[in-house]
Symmetry: C3
Subunit: 474 residues, 3 copies
């Protein structure tokens, strides 16, 4: 029996039901944060100190990454450019709305209301990035209805994990290497494991890039590259912490870019560069430096992390991804395990090393700000002393470096476990009928889901390798 | 008699005459505003409090929208991509220069000089957006010479309307729903009404999108989407007002995006998505929330406005645009009446409701800042009392909510009327000979106005539906 | 003997050796600047006054210009889009790393260490822009290995020149017209002079644009256009100086855009626009206004400079570039001599005029801030008096306007001379074998350096003029 891929009923159903629920939840439980509430302004309020002006520049940068960077990057398939960009748009808009609510209940809730400000939107964009990374594992093999259902499930699992890790484990992870990248990666792998399609392992006639699709995709890479320092530093402390986060991210991206070009030429048979490497592996440094991005790791260490992450990522693309597809039922379409998984693991290790080596000698009293949980507890006389050096220093938990490192390890394994299990369960849900999943031969194809212009068939024809199997009317 | 479409004489004539006039006017009447004038700096000036730093971030965001967002969005026609992007570039540069002068005389004039700062440029970009929206109605059917003449006429009509509305009617319209969107829409419809081309109602062989053109256009949409919060909030009060404007715009865009995808699938025969919907209807929320964007309407209301505007916009595209073209001589090429007109009207209504419901209870004393004209007059003792709560509160007109609402209604109808009449007169001027207007068969075609590369003919051939009527040499 | 164009050995060799050296130098000599160093923060540090927040917005704008603006602009060749964008990416990442080190030793060195902050990155991006402009002269005719070698040589020559000019000649050149544009231009011309390929003067079958490549390239132009005010103002004094720099750049770009459209139509045989003009000549105003961008030249002068630079640039493209190629062995692929050389010279002259006309009447005491070297020497009693008017005014050299003008002239000729000689020597180095230089017939072709998708051959076929010489299998 041929399943329908028509979105006519399913997509509106999922969207309108969600919208009614979202609207009801917004009406009942979302109000303005103090900085956005007219009634909270008085004669002591100075408009230009509104938190808006600290958060909004980073928010717009991350917006460009989410909607344009990811969108273009995912448009690399010649016949699935609409799908890559438009489903990214749909999923991102949906994920952010949903994350505002779910994260709101966990992180921005007081007096029975979610307090909304630009910081909530920024936080929701991180949740959105998680979903979009996972999307990379199943690109071209899932319907937009399935993607919305995946978003509905992934956002709460992520938000709970995030809340537990931040509230109870209290880790250092400014760039989101553990929470964003590792979670997203293993969740996506879980989903694609369940949605395994054996026939795709033999290659698919439409799974091909095109000359212009590759250029669109590289533009996406460049937007991600340019604004990645803003992503990695958006959640750090203001001041020197944020300054370092920007420096380290930039340096690591630079060194991973150089390395990616070199390895791409070196590992190809004919000494030519592969665009997929330039589109993806160049970004490895941004992830690898994430967990230690605000620490005093030194610029040279950031440089080294960029190189190391890039090597791991490149070897992953060359050897691990094909292996996982053939032997482990894990078909990782965009290779998220290389760009987010392997690099995320290296980043965690580097973060742990940086935590173990952090000392008052290097950081001065700021040590207890960057590593907030190592700050002395409130009763500790050292806390008072430190407060004279850093006014406004919050009391901490008095953790030692070793204790903090152990919590990082716990967070890493916990996150991976929850993500993988969550991904597998989500994959099972996505196998439900009526979600307009494409059959194998309709994968990587915009035609099932879009009204395509007349030049589409011609483009499809161009691609057909020796004795076209696609009908085209040129 | 075949009219020439050559730009060889006409375009340089219009440009050079304008440039001489502009240069003379700049020389005679434009000088620096205080914040840009070296001689006005003294030992009390703090460089970082220069107004530049408040305005410039919003200015660059709007620049991206105008030049890249609009430019790419208008490149959706397969054979008119150069025209869409390059004429947008030309018109935008021209409109801003002209608007700096015209708005300067009305809004930034003192001691016989226009005082120039980044705020003037930002203001001129709003006038520019007006022209570009109107351009959407006649895209592909007008020569660049006609577009420059249209700009020459539209900018002053707009600037006068803006000045009357802001100075005499004194309305609330932070996002420009009335002044920008309604004006631009009805002006454009007036122009296209006069330039009616009956033969185009039967379809035009070149009026087709292309696979890559649609991707370029969607990139334009995404740039508009990402920076729309900056557009809607650029002219609000700093602080909580701007904060709310950003939140509301983002929420409304998100909900209209979701709705647009759902409706696009629902209203298509085969349950497939239409790229034109994703490129345009997703943006409806940004306009719809405009007139009330800085008010305490609640996040849920912003959500609802996004959905409502999107529904109106989508139904407009499906049913109203074809109706207007067939029965009212209004050929609205990009459907600006849907994206800017219908949504603008809803926005006005929502703004009026928000004004009527605004109370001191919700806003606190800030009520008289957001609704500046409801502030008590200078002599009123209440003014003094309020100034203690909000230092620097300007005296207002002591309007009641109902009075303010009536002024909004007057502004709405007045703007629509002036715009439509201005558009019709402009249309008549554009019918003058010697403006290089394209004949019907040269519409939607880059070839009359650009030296095209050799692959153009091939692309043109691809498009020809069964039995090509275009000459191509493949 | 056919030389190999394989990158398999050469590219990794150059990259890995450089990376090892860079990493060693970073480890040995790069540390954090005060604003990025946790140990330098104390109870008097206010996080939001960190220099990060002054520099980062301009840094991201310039990043977009470098990686996306230049990248897309250079993708205008139909069969060399990958090369344009990806080599731009590679060279930019490499140049910035290298410039951080080299400029660091000259400009940011204290106590035996380079002090790293975002300002260093911004400064390195200017060095990077220099390399990318020079790249324009040899686009499509050099291998990525050659480009890296060129970068290795150009960055130190530039950094030394910059240091000498800024430290000893002490000139005014906020927009980098002398240091960035003239240096880059004459260096690039020097390189291409040595790499002269006589056969290319007869045209090359692959040296053709494509319809979509031209659109990508125009997008690049628009990104450069939009953020050019940030580039020209990134290095000025904060406050009114930066405000003026932004205004002037915007005005000059606007007027040069209008002029470029008019001239493009006027100078073409058939009255049609040429995309190459719209992509390049529109930007002339940004360069032309550079040397006087922060001075009180008046908005009208900025307007006039935009027009003048545009005319020179356009005439250069039409008449000078072909002349140089035929008669002077200078094959300037992207016409950098027009967009950066001629305009740079006009800019210098304008800067000198502005310096000669600058008076205390126009500038007030700020005169001695904008023209820092005209400030009185420390012992001069006038210095004390001025410090009361402008607290924090640095003592200067007591130069007169004429003296300053002479230094500008010296800097201009000195820079041109050093750049040209440096470029010629670099060109000789690039002729070394084993740098994977493409043969004449492999110029302007992505195939030697990239694994291209299957539609590439088809695109190549489309282009072949009457009796294709390229093998294609359509």
């Amino acid at each position: 029996m041929k399943r329908s891929v028509s979105l006519k009923v399913q997509l509106p159903s999922v969207v309108f039901v969600s919208e009614v629920v979202f609207l009801a939840l917004y009406a009942v439980s979302v109000t303005y944060s103090d900085d956005a509430d007219a009634a909270r302004q008085d004669n002591t309020t100075e408009p230009m100190t509104n938190s808006l002006y600290k958060d909004y520049p980073f928010f717009t940068d991350v917006q460009v990454m989410i909607f344009i960077g990811f969108g273009c990057l995912l448009a690399f398939l010649r016949l699935y450019g609409y799908g890559g960009m438009a489903f990214n748009f749909l999923v991102a808009a949906f994920a952010i709305q949903w994350a505002i609510l779910v994260q709101g209940y966990f992180q921005f809730y007081s007096d029975g209301k979610i307090r909304l400000g630009v910081i909530n939107l920024l936080s929701a964009e991180f949740a959105c990035a998680v979903v979009l990374i996972s999307f990379g594992a199943v690109l071209g093999k899932t319907s937009p209805v399935q993607l919305l259902v995946m978003t509905l499930l992934e956002v709460p699992v992520f938000a709970v994990t995030e809340w537990v890790v931040l509230k109870y484990l209290k880790i250092n992870d400014a760039g989101g290497s553990i929470l964003v990248h590792l979670f997203a990666c293993y969740f996506g792998l879980g989903v694609t494991f369940v949605l395994y399609r054996p026939s795709l392992n033999n290659g698919h006639p439409k799974e091909a890039t095109g000359y212009h699709s590759d250029i669109f995709s590289l533009m996406g890479t460049l937007f991600l590259w340019v604004f990645w320092p803003s992503f990695n530093s958006a959640m750090t402390f203001k001041g020197d912490d944020q300054h370092r986060a920007i420096l380290h991210t930039f340096i690591a991206l630079s060194s991973s870019t150089l390395t990616a070009f070199a390895l791409s030429a070196m590992l190809s048979k004919n000494g030519r560069l592969t665009m997929a490497d330039i589109q993806n592996v160049t970004l490895a440094g941004g992830v690898t430096v994430g967990a230690s991005v605000d620490m005093m790791i030194s610029p040279a260490a950031a440089y080294g992390l960029g190189v190391a992450g890039c090597i791991a990522c490149m070897l992953g693309y060359r050897y691990l991804t094909p292996f996982l597809a053939r032997h482990c039922r894990i078909q990782d379409q965009c290779g998220i395990h290389n760009l987010h998984g392997l690099t995320g693991l290296i980043s965690c290790l580097a973060g742990i090393c940086a935590i173990l080596m952090a000392s008052e000698e290097t950081y001065g009293p700021s040590l207890y700000q960057t590593f907030a949980h190592r700050a002395p507890v409130e009763e500790d006389p050292k806390h008072l002393k430190l407060q004279q050096l850093i006014p406004g220093l919050q009391p901490g938990l008095g953790r030692t470096a070793h204790e903090q490192a152990l919590y990082q390890v716990a967070a890493m394994f916990g996150t991976i476990g929850v993500a993988a299990v969550g991904g597998i369960i989500t994959g099972l849900v996505l196998k439900l009928p009526f979600l307009a999943a494409p059959s194998d031969e309709l994968c990587f194809d915009d035609k099932p889901y879009f009204n395509v212009p007349s030049d589409y068939d011609n483009m499809a024809g161009l691609e057909a390798p020796s004795g076209a199997t696609l009908d085209n009317k040129v």
